[in-house]
Symmetry: C2
Subunit: 337 residues, 2 copies
Amino acid sequence: MSELRRDPISGRWNIIDTTQPVGPEGFEVEPPMQSAGKCPFCYGNEAMTPREIYAVRPQGGPPTGPGWNLRVVPNKFPALQIEGDLGRRGLGVFDLCNGVGAHEVIIETPEHDRQFADLSVPQVAEVIRAYIARSLDLRGDRRLRYTLLFKNYGLSAGATLEHAHSQLIALPIVPKRVQEELQGAGRYFDFRERCSYCDVLHQELQEDERVVCENRSFVAYCPYVSSFPFETWILPREHRGDFAKITPDTVTDFARILKETLGRLRTVLGNPPYNFVIHTAPIEPREREEYHWHVELIPKLTKIAGFEWGTGFYINPTPPELAAKHLREAAWVPAAV
Amino acid sequence: MSELRRDPISGRWNIIDTTQPVGPEGFEVEPPMQSAGKCPFCYGNEAMTPREIYAVRPQGGPPTGPGWNLRVVPNKFPALQIEGDLGRRGLGVFDLCNGVGAHEVIIETPEHDRQFADLSVPQVAEVIRAYIARSLDLRGDRRLRYTLLFKNYGLSAGATLEHAHSQLIALPIVPKRVQEELQGAGRYFDFRERCSYCDVLHQELQEDERVVCENRSFVAYCPYVSSFPFETWILPREHRGDFAKITPDTVTDFARILKETLGRLRTVLGNPPYNFVIHTAPIEPREREEYHWHVELIPKLTKIAGFEWGTGFYINPTPPELAAKHLREAAWVPAAV
């Protein structure tokens, strides 16, 4: 018989198939993307992107030229635009406002054929520092309430270009999903006077059934209430709501575990499409003591169907215990750096 | 500039691209499924399914033989099982219970190559009567709290067989998504002393910009806060929370608008994969005066990516006004019956 498991933070129940669990061999993984035409993210094509906002250029040089390790540019087809008033207003029973916000692309490497998981730890750390720098910079804009950092890798995970990149979207509202997390974590905090994420982490480490890998500052594990096969979360050991305030030391540890987790997923699943999202506290003056920033990483292996749309929860054919076992036991050689 | 639009019931904000809207020609539609091997839903293969629960057999005959127009059978690979105790219990910070529930398949026609949208109005009405009969029957089981009826059509909408069928899953809990709807509708009801769905319907009919088609008992429209391109909802004009309590007259009108809406979607988009879900009130003695049952129909045209996972809301490249215009103006010949 399957199990229904309930997440203490979101209140979401998922159905986990514990009787006929599906291992890594049970999923068909789509082949890597190959987009045609000149790549706007490659060396020499800098003029194809909108004007550079941030870059790592060890030897200096103009923002339109090569010689960079990393660039941040506005998205050429932005979901939101930075200019203009919010103009929040009603329309009968509905509400609307203008699509004000930021939509940026972090080009993670000049090398077209290099995946994020193949970057060195210092290179990944460079990407994380770009995330932090852009997050902090956008806080100066009083219209913005939330900064979302995420990566789509592969066609069915929503990527449109294969050259390694991640995205930042800053929003004038706190997203529904984040509000739910804050409310859930808040209820737990009120009841137990402890952080729910810290408690989950403590239990995961104690049970040691779903942990994938860990280092001084982070733990990667497949959550007890995983919605998807091989879903993996990365939690900092240190209780902190705001991702952008992590210390330089933690940045390197974060780079290390992110690279290791992606590497293990690739070894076990053979280069699947995936999304990762950094869940962090909203932009606001007060510190959210009930919140704990983290990464949710979802390999794209299953389809979303009517059941999921109707219920808001998921049927997961791979128990997280099995997923973690495969990921933990995968051959993985840590980088020299 | 794009628009951020807020749904008054769920509180969800979606980003609607009103500047460079994408019409039907902008989407690539996957080819129809073709599964290999003997089809368990065809005439003569009745023994390939678990034992029949319900059927329409105009000439009578045994449950294992042909001569039927429609059959309901347990899912051969059920997400939940009807036998056993719920056994709800804690596991440290988590909760779990056994996967108790029902998972049934409604085989809508014996004809393998006939799509749901091609069935006659009386045949679609037969399917709806099967939905109602199964919903009412399962209410006798005190462990169950919710009955979800839905259809996955096409590979990327999660279907595994192409022979026309829909599914029923009865759950021992009220799903998160339904709870959110009930809470949202309840807040609105408390505040305005009216049904939020009735108010939305009233406004949609008045503005007449997003209505696709209508008949005596139902209105199909593309919601103002559509999450997906060409998303279409079907709302009964009559305020009622419980789908299973609709009158025989209404069943025919429902069949008619469901067929018309699917036909229009196919004309405009060229046979896209889709999901539809019947949203109805939970199984409970009290009548939910704040709730209004309805159908949400989502053609599968876009990918879910990191932004959607992180925020719980959606970037929709096709404004519902444009989608509704295309659907409304599509050549559509009503069935003779």
